[in-house]
Point group: C2
């Protein structure tokens, strides 16, 4: 059983990568993915973070941290979808981001690939869920774990994932649309 | 308003530290706290992680990462509470851990202090919730943010916190009591 793999094996040896999904309306989805990166970095896992929505130009603590640590990081979005002025360009960008993710996953060169805010590519119709899951079924190396984040994960993705946490917002100091604070939100 | 503080200020300048609470049965609570540490480290925040339950002897990825990065880390527990053979010693340990946390918080020397799995100290009766909250109200410097994690956060703590996420377990590959996997669970 995958969950009884000896804990002294590297991902390449135990070959039981998991697909993890952090969804829901509450704060903590991307933050938990970052925590998983932090933990796995402590074990020298080979890491790749791919962000579907966040812009490359944003100055964020996690990007600064990743740069210092030499963690591979691709922020390929154009900001939040509701701010997009050219939806076709945004959709094309999401498809390009998925093509990069495919290349990284298929390469077998990573133990953990984070697909941050990927759910929005499904909910906005930029990517076909069935096509993505079928591709992952065939091409994801068994040692490569994935973390997918984003609100409103489609049911098929929940079924596909091995671990799913729904982050429920109980209390949040920032209203939607208001900027968050440095060090806390970005 | 705290949530409109200019984002180019350091925690010492904007003095609007938040109290954040990650609770619930699902995976992601401690992981999100680690992600917050990762992000804040990218902004050179002064960090302190205090763990109420985890043992100092456990070999964990997050501890390895923190050691490499020079992040202050105190794991002062004796393992999960249900494994404790001497409940009075466990309770005394939790009170010692809180005393250390008080010292660190009160010092003003940190921008973020993580109180990992502290909720168990309340649910097990090792610490008095009202006393802790009253102390925090008086002694927490305004620039110092806190993150508290753990299941079953008491109602008073939820009210006290500025941000609360309830992590709901939708699907989890490890049954309770089964060991998790290196790089994923620890």
């Amino acid at each position: 059983m995958a969950n009884q793999a000896p804990d002294n094996l590297s991902p390449q040896e135990d070959r039981t990568g998991l697909v993890m999904l952090y969804t829901g309306q509450g704060k903590g989805k991307t933050t938990a993915a970052l925590g998983a990166v932090f933990r796995a970095w402590g074990w020298d896992w080979r890491l790749c973070v791919i962000q579907f929505i966040k812009c490359p130009s944003d100055d964020r603590g996690e990007v600064r941290a990743a740069q210092r640590l030499g963690i591979e990081w691709h922020a390929l979005g154009d900001g939040f979808t509701w701010a997009s002025e050219d939806l076709e360009a945004t959709a094309a960008r999401a498809r390009d981001t998925w093509r990069l993710a495919q290349e990284k996953i298929e390469s077998g060169a990573y133990d953990l690939v984070v697909l941050d805010e990927m759910t929005y590519a499904f909910t906005n119709g930029w990517l076909d869920l069935d096509g993505v899951l079928e591709w992952l079924d065939r091409h994801r190396p068994r040692h490569t774990s994935l973390i997918v984040t984003g609100r409103n994960a489609p049911e098929g993705l929940v079924e596909f994932a091995d671990l799913v946490t729904d982050m429920v917002n109980v209390k949040h100091p920032f209203g939607q649309g208001l900027a968050g604070r440095r060090g806390i939100e970005f």
